[in-house]
């Protein structure tokens, strides 16, 4: 197990590369999801406003 995490002495480089990639991929996916949700709510609100106003 310790051998696995040591990565033949390259632990710092290998895990940093995978860690950075994971953070970036998950981060962009989550922020895209969040922005999409927010925009859908805004569209709904605008539609309701238009209906209520006229």
């Amino acid at each position: 197990m310790a051998d696995f995490f040591d990565m033949g002495g390259y632990a710092a480089f290998v895990w940093a590369a995978y860690g950075l990639s994971a953070v970036a991929l998950v981060g962009l996916a989550l922020s895209s999801r969040k922005q999409l949700k927010k925009s859908a709510e805004d569209v709904e609100a605008a539609r309701a406003r238009r209906k209520g106003g006229s």
Partner: protein
């Protein structure tokens, strides 16, 4: 293709594809990471650091692939004024910028132990850095010009001009043979790497491709909503006084 010009139809298509794309993405990441760490040997020269390659090369392929998607979308937007094409360009740019940044960063993390340096101004590294700036420039143009139509035109033109950089990236390793090694997978005479290492590479590449489809579709839907809101806001502003 014009059937998908309608945003409502595009949304329906996206919703049909998304669950499958998400399922494929999860499976491909699981298989890719398993083969990358457990079912592949250390390299005889690179040792365990070779495992960085399984996320480095796919990120670099995505960086170039997404740029071509962005360029085709920009071309379509400029020539046929297809409204969804412009949104597609906008939806791809953050994905492309991220994969380019990851290609550069993972490359640096591999370069330090293998080459002895994080960075050299070699043809490949420099042209990929330029690719990163092209993505940033594209996004900055959208931000900096107020009129959406003008912003879209300027950004699309930049995206098209930047296409010259793509063959430069691809052939940089043959034209200037400095530090970055030449291609070992995408070559005319077939891959030159062993199957045990080719498999994790291809699985991770497929996982990244599935990830791109998922996040791209989310961002397309987001862009369509954003556009709807902009149109609604404009209608509100131009409504005659007392119309409310």
């Amino acid at each position: 293709m014009h059937r998908f010009a309608n945003p409502a139809q595009f949304n329906r298509l996206a919703d049909a594809i998304l669950p499958w794309a998400i399922g494929a993405m999860v499976l491909l990441f699981a298989a890719g990471l398993y083969t990358a760490f457990f079912a592949s040997p250390p390299d005889y020269q690179q040792g365990e650091s070779v495992r960085v390659m399984y996320i480095h090369a796919p990120a670099a392929w995505m960086a170039m692939f997404i740029y071509m998607v962005m360029a085709v979308a920009s071309f379509t937007a400029l020539v046929w004024r297809h409204p969804l094409a412009l949104l597609a360009g906008r939806a791809t740019a953050p994905l492309g910028a991220m994969f380019t940044a990851l290609a550069l960063l993972t490359g640096m993390l591999w370069g330090k132990p293998m080459w002895g340096t994080y960075w050299v101004w070699d043809g490949r590294l420099t042209s990929v850095l330029i690719l990163f700036f092209l993505y940033l420039g594209y996004m900055a143009l959208w931000q900096s010009v107020e009129d959406e139509e003008k912003a879209g035109r300027a950004a699309s033109i930049l995206a098209l001009v930047g296409v010259v950089n793509i063959p430069i990236i691809k052939f940089s390793v043959d034209w200037w043979s400095t530090l970055h090694q030449p291609a070992s997978v995408i070559r005319l005479d077939g891959p030159t790497i062993d199957g045990s290492m080719l498999l994790p590479l291809l699985l991770m590449a497929a996982a990244y491709q599935a990830y791109f489809i998922v996040v791209f579709l989310w961002r397309m839907k987001l862009e369509i909503n954003r556009r709807k809101l902009a149109v609604a806001r404009q209608a509100m502003m131009h409504a005659p006084v007392g119309a409310e």
